[in-house]
Amino acid sequence: MLVGFVREHIEAIGPARALFLDFPMGRGMGKPNDPDFQKRVIRAAFKLFEKTSGPVLEDFPETIPVLQGRMGYALPPELVLNADDIGDVDELVASVSKEMDALRNDYEAAVLSRGRTTVGASQLRIDDLAPFIAQFVRGEFPKSPRKGLPAIPLLKLAVEDLEAYYTETRTYRDKIDNLELIGSWFWENTSAGRLLLSLEAVSLVSSDRVMLQIVEMSLMAPRFWSNGPLPGSSAAGW
């Protein structure tokens, strides 16, 4: 039994039993903290077992709208930093640190309430995330402090941990479940977002093939659903 978000692909592949979900990507069961909605998805999927021949492809009747055809948040194409625009990295890190301190009580309350956190894939301490990322913004290539994981893959996990720290806190604190609002807040309105856009700017002119690939393929900043590739790149990585 398969559920999926791209109907044309399900039609082309033709699995035996499939349920098309008209939802944003990353929300297979639809809505967080809504057990009834989630069970309606599961029951609709499992109901396809009653069919006696296939392939079967049906549409889940409820939809979760997306914005202008994009299946997740995307940065405005014009919001791009130039490496020359970054300014004082130490000041930027200090600003991120202050921001994170202001969020800390609510982050801890969120973890307590949910009984879990997704922060920690990098295994860096929360307070070490921004300073570690900042080393790359300065053009340094630090050695990975994590055995068995090279510096750039660790950098990518650190970026995601930093974002998760903010977004876990905000969804809990303000009871928001709106991926567009959460995405625009983090990427367009926080110092942490600016730190990551600075990292993107540095990566775009980097002589390191992997750093360049990260931005060419939108593997760090959310540009996959933008109306055009990152200026200065061709999105050719894809």
Partner: protein
């Protein structure tokens, strides 16, 4: 419905140009009665237990998640899908609690002990060895229903 043709240009071009697998024969199996089903989840979200090795960017392998595991992290390489939902509630991508409830209510027979996670950014053709290992483990614990949930 969100059609590929309506998606923004970068994502649309990527998704349009994906090479899709084709199958000569559709695998159609007769399902077990609902209240006898033993269900296992397969996810492409690249989630794993906190201390598992992170997925590599084009990983061919998988991670095993026990039905009681909740302390999970995600090491998926792509960022085009929403992460804020699973941060709020694991069940929105990996519905272990919902299936546990459905087991208690006898809507399904049982939830399997083991569930599986893959890196959805990788080419599934490269995962055959891993997929066969997963299938063997499922058979060993009597799974007869697989719930495939992409990210």
């Amino acid at each position: 419905m969100t059609k590929i043709s309506e998606m923004p240009v970068v994502g649309r071009d990527f998704i349009s140009n994906l090479k899709l697998p084709s199958f000569e024969k559709m695998a159609w199996t007769k399902p077990s009665p609902a209240n006898k089903r033993r269900v296992s989840i397969v996810s492409t979200a690249a989630i794993s237990k906190r201390n598992d090795r992170p997925f590599s960017w084009l990983a061919k392998d998988h991670r095993v998640i026990h039905k009681t595991d909740r302390d999970l992290v995600m090491t998926h390489v792509a960022v085009e899908f929403d992460r804020s939902a699973w941060q709020q509630d694991l069940n929105v991508i990996f519905p272990l609690d919902r299936l546990t409830e459905m087991e208690a209510d006898h809507e399904i027979g049982s939830l399997a002990d083991e569930h599986y996670s893959f890196m959805g950014a990788a080419d599934p053709v490269t995962m055959e060895k891993s997929a066969r290992e997963v299938a063997a483990r499922m058979k060993d614990e009597g799974v007869d229903t697989v719930f495939l949930i992409p990210i």
